[in-house]
């Protein structure tokens, strides 16, 4: 319980959600790249803007008890990010080719690089948090 509370007070739940999001998105980008020569294939993606917006709202709610004036505390479930889910979208950008595929290899590779960097940032931040927590626990024991 104590550990859970300590974890929730940091940005760990939001970062864990971000990790899940980037991993799910990598799967879709891999599928888009794999199907670059498939007829009538429509590109799929997860909405980064929508996900970040939902995450921002939840982080604001968790850190600002004024959001729930009746109780003066954080709204129920504000620390829990597990219900934040990414929305599947079908980007219409790019040219629709004669084979019915709206591929854009440049866009896909760029999305992939950005997604991988976002994943790396989340991993590094999460690792730093775990290290700080570990250092604090070791001091306590020592």
């Amino acid at each position: 319980m104590f550990i859970q509370r300590m974890l929730n007070q940091t940005g760990a739940p939001a970062l864990e959600r971000l990790l899940s999001f980037t991993e799910a998105r990598q799967g879709l980008i891999a599928d888009d790249i794999a199907n670059v020569d498939s007829q009538n294939y429509r590109q799929k993606d997860l909405s980064v803007e929508r996900f970040q917006q939902m995450l921002r709202q939840r982080v604001d709610a968790a850190h600002n008890p004024a959001h729930n004036p009746s109780t003066g505390s954080s709204p129920a479930g504000a620390d829990d990010f597990s219900d934040i889910d990414a929305e599947l979208e079908y980007p219409t950008r790019g040219i629709l080719f004669h084979d019915g595929n709206n591929r854009s290899m440049e866009q896909l590779m760029s999305d992939q690089a950005k997604n991988a960097l976002m994943h790396q940032v989340a991993v590094e931040l999460l690792r730093k948090q775990y290290q700080s927590m570990q250092a604090a626990l070791q001091d306590k024991v020592g």
């Binding site: 991993e23 992939q112 991988a116």
Partner: protein, 125 residues
């Protein structure tokens, strides 16, 4: 995350099959007598979504190898008209290049996925 590797692997396999088809076309570009007695017909791989044997799983596979129904080339040999395969070498080379680039893109995707998995694993190490 491991699904992403399966997806890229299916694409590598599909692109290799496509390149094999192109290689067969180039090898047979002067075959005037095929198994049916007619000149060799150009073949091309048709890709479809989903893994081979289970289209509901994400990925790609070669659904069929189609024969190009285009007209044969007619070459004059000592006043005699000879039918040659309907293969255009330039088109085959461009297809092979495209295939090779798509293969590279999928290898890159595999590398990125592997790096992401390694980063996630470092969290527990």
């Amino acid at each position: 995350m491991f699904d992403s590797l399966d997806i890229s692997a299916s694409a590598l396999q599909a692109q290799r099959t496509r390149l094999d088809t192109i290689a067969t076309n180039i090898a047979n570009m002067n075959t005037t007598q095929g198994l049916d007695g007619n000149p060799y017909r150009r073949r091309y791989a048709v890709f479809a979504q989903g893994q081979e044997g289970d289209s509901s799983r994400p990925g790609v596979h070669v659904s069929k190898i189609e024969k190009d129904q285009g007209a044969f080339r007619v070459v004059d040999r000592d006043g005699k008209k000879v039918l040659y395969p309907n293969i255009d070498l330039s088109q085959e080379f461009v297809d092979a290049l495209e295939c090779s680039r798509a293969y590279e893109a999928n290898v890159t995707t595999m590398e990125v996925t592997k790096a992401m998995i390694n980063a996630s694993l470092r969290l527990v190490a």
